[in-house]
């Protein structure tokens, strides 16, 4: 018998001992980052970058397959006991030797995860990880001339690339409200001093917002540069318009972070994604009734919110708990009790 066959037999035997749990449920108690475990990471340090941004140093589990500069990673972290998932750009270079990665997070107003990571996260915390992903990356062959057009925390994927790959001719146009809000300001000025980067630093509180249409005044050869742009939707929309207006769309790469804004209202259009049915619902009718009336086969139970037999994945939008008025917004892994939830704006259920 080969050693793999032997190992899989031994594993089967272990499963028979641990049933109804899995051997990994026990191994996770002692070694959550081991090979073969669900991918997790451990926060090992948190460094303050600006008054409201911090770099989080993470040791990924053994299953981590590495990243390409510019990619992002989804992390799942328990905030007030609730697991929330967000995506952040990896800001460490791929050449980092200690096996750790960094993400850099800017706390946004009312941002549960970002505020937690910047202000409360403690070394030692185990978080959930996904493999790095995203195609906001440099091509295999180095472009001759590059422009990074960034604003606010949009600088993070660009920093990942700057730290990772030495390019011959790089310009960065970066906007932030004030000097003290510029994340990585010291690193950027070090690169400038080493003549590795030309930096145009704009402080929008005093300089006003960047007018992308007048980019040529700051970077005369912008149209020759392969460009990576990341920042608020307004900046990216303007950039796309500008580049396509000059027939240069193929040179522009953009990265959008903010999830689509959820419209919270009273009632709304309900989409049942599996069956493809769409109906209008008011803000008082339980989604279970809405689905059943539309002929969707809905799981159900007590119909009073106590048995959790009707829990259904909420894929998009928001629902309101008819008992407490609490709003739940769609996120990966969020299930809602359809018997006591009504549409709070347009929403989508997996049924």
């Amino acid at each position: 018998m080969t050693s793999t066959a032997l190992r899989s037999r031994a594993w089967k035997l272990l499963e028979m001992v641990t049933t109804p749990l899995l051997p990994s449920d026990y191994l996770d108690l002692f070694s959550p980052l081991r090979a073969g475990a669900d991918l997790r990471g451990r926060i090992e340090a948190v460094h303050r970058e600006t008054p409201d941004a911090a770099t989080v140093v993470i040791r990924p589990g053994k299953g981590w397959r590495g990243h390409r500069a510019g990619q992002y990673v989804r992390i799942g972290i328990d905030v007030d006991g609730v697991r929330l998932w967000r995506a952040y750009s990896v800001t460490s270079p791929t050449s980092r030797q200690d096996g750790r990665i960094t993400i850099t997070v800017k706390a946004i107003p009312d941002g549960k995860v970002s505020n937690y990571l910047v202000r409360r996260a403690k070394p030692g915390t185990v978080i959930q990880l996904d493999q790095a992903t995203g195609d906001f990356v440099l091509p295999a062959t180095k472009p001759a001339k590059v422009l990074y057009l960034t604003a606010g925390s949009g600088i993070t994927p660009a920093m990942g690339m700057l730290r990772d790959t030495d390019l011959d001719d790089v310009v960065m146009v970066h906007s932030a409200p004030r000097e003290e809000d510029v994340i990585f300001r010291n690193d950027l000025h070090d690169l400038v001093a080493d003549k590795k980067l030309r930096l145009v630093e704009l402080h929008t509180d005093t300089d006003g917002m960047l007018d992308v249409a007048r980019l040529g005044e700051l970077v005369p050869d912008w149209a020759e540069r392969e460009t990576w742009a990341c920042g608020p939707a307004g900046l990216l929309d303007a950039a796309e318009e500008h580049w396509s207006g000059h027939g240069r769309s193929e040179l522009l790469h953009t990265e959008r972070f903010r999830p689509s804004v959820v419209v919270v209202g009273d009632g709304g259009e309900v989409t049942f994604s599996t069956t493809g049915k769409t109906v209008d619902a008011d803000g008082a009718t339980p989604l279970l009734d809405v689905g059943e009336e539309a002929g969707v086969l809905m799981p159900s139970g007590c119909r009073m919110g106590i048995c959790f037999g009707c829990s259904t994945p909420l894929k998009a939008g928001a629902v309101r708990d008819l008992r407490t008025g609490e709003i739940t917004e769609a996120e990966p892994g969020v299930l809602v009790q359809t018997c006591v939830s009504a549409a709070a704006g347009p929403c989508e259920l997996e049924r």
């Binding site: 035997l13 028979m16 001992v17 049933t19 109804p20 749990l21 449920d25 026990y26 108690l29 328990d78 007030d80 006991g81 609730v82 697991r83 929330l84 139970g301 007590c302 009073m304 919110g305 106590i306 048995c307 959790f308 037999g309 829990s311 008992r323 407490t324 609490e326 996120e331 892994g333 969020v334 299930l335």
Partner: protein, 372 residues
């Protein structure tokens, strides 16, 4: 529907006001649910797994009597923790709010022969909704016993102390049969129902896995300790069964707990539903360790009012709930475990015989007249 309705003094408005006050208690807990609660359940799960691992490891040497004693005691406690504070409560959805797929009512399974899916249906959906409604809530005597004067007597009830004892010893199998509605489904016509057959198969698979683990693999791994480990796992299952059966009997069977007629719940309001839960459940008083080992089902009244609140919060909720019982002049049925177990067993014995007197309880009537 006991001869004297102990809630007769409440007006409809009072009952709805009571409902609103209970809603407020629930909202308070939900608003303050957070990191501490999450840490609690994770700590309990971690402790249970370590205890089970350690106990099973010790039992590999169960041929030595001290190892047998320690291992069996540890495994018994681990199995009780798995079923009560962890399994029962996670399967209720008490921890779904954490959005952790590993601690979620839709993914959890327990050290029990009844598959989680089936138990959730018969327990969460039927028992918790129709609590103590005769003909609707099969927990009232599990279909094999008579636990209220208003349930019809049949000669088969003569044997119910024995049925109850056997059920206590093999409680997990009793629950699996109950979740399958075996009594109803064994009729010739129903036996072939594909839905029933699929469920019966699922139970069969679960039983096979549980039996293999406890009575074959673990003893085999113990080598020369084969027989003693077999005896140890059997004992641990027996202890767990007797314990959970006792705790669960105390939830709805002790004297003083009310049962309800089918028609009494027609058009029931939220306030009336709450009131039925209050009158249909009984608590067990005791120490923190005692509450923990019962999976906080010692706070049965609070659990029935708010089945989806995290179990570690029932103790603080109980203080407020008890104050409401006093405010509305209702009887909060509670007592230490031995007293409640005795009370429940006493009822099982008493009701194995047909009712002695006509249902109208004259002494109570007289009391009421005097009071009026």
């Amino acid at each position: 529907m006991t001869a004297i309705d102990p809630t007769a003094h409440l007006t409809e408005e009072q009952i709805e006001e009571l409902g609103r006050e209970l809603d407020a208690i629930r909202d308070e807990v939900i608003a303050s649910r957070g990191e501490k609660d999450a840490a609690y359940i994770r700590k309990v799960i971690s402790a249970q797994r370590k205890l089970e691992l350690a106990s099973r490891a010790v039992l590999l040497f169960s041929i030595f009597p001290p190892a047998w004693l320690v291992g069996t005691a540890g495994l018994s406690v681990a199995k009780i923790m798995d079923n009560m504070e962890i399994g029962h409560n996670i399967l209720h959805g008490q921890w779904d709010w954490m959005r952790d797929p590993k601690i979620h009512s839709s993914t959890w399974d327990w050290d029990h022969v009844s598959p989680a899916e089936q138990w959730k249906h018969s327990h969460n959906e039927l028992h918790h909704k129709y609590t103590n409604v005769i003909g609707k809530d099969n927990d009232l005597g599990y279909g094999i016993m008579r636990v209220d004067e208003d349930q019809k007597w049949h000669p088969i009830h003569l044997g119910q102390p024995l049925w109850n004892f056997i059920n206590a010893c093999f409680f997990e199998y009793g629950i699996a049969a109950y979740d399958l509605e075996l009594g109803k489904n064994l009729h010739k016509r129903r036996r072939k129902n594909p839905e029933f057959r699929a469920r019966a198969k699922a139970v069969g698979r679960k039983i096979r896995k549980q039996v293999l683990k406890d009575y074959v693999i673990h003893p085999l791994l113990s080598g020369p300790s084969f027989l003693t480990t077999l005896a140890a796992t059997f004992t641990a299952n027996l202890v767990r069964n007797l314990w959970s059966h006792s705790v669960i009997m105390c939830g709805h069977f002790p004297e003083g707990v009310q049962v309800f007629e089918r028609r009494s719940i027609k058009g029931e309001t939220r306030g009336q539903w709450y009131l039925r839960q209050m009158m249909g459940s009984a608590n067990i008083s005791g120490s923190k360790a005692m509450h923990f080992m019962t999976g906080n089902l010692s706070h049965q009244i609070e659990h029935h009012l708010f089945p989806d609140l995290p179990s570690n919060r029932y103790a603080e909720v109980a203080v407020k709930v008890r104050a409401l019982f006093e405010k509305y002049e209702l009887e909060y049925v509670t007592g230490p475990l031995p007293k409640q177990v005795f009370s429940a067993w006493h009822k099982v014995f008493r009701l194995s015989l047909p009712n002695k007197k006509p249902k109208v309880k004259t002494p109570d009537r007289e009391k009421e007249l005097v009071a009026a």
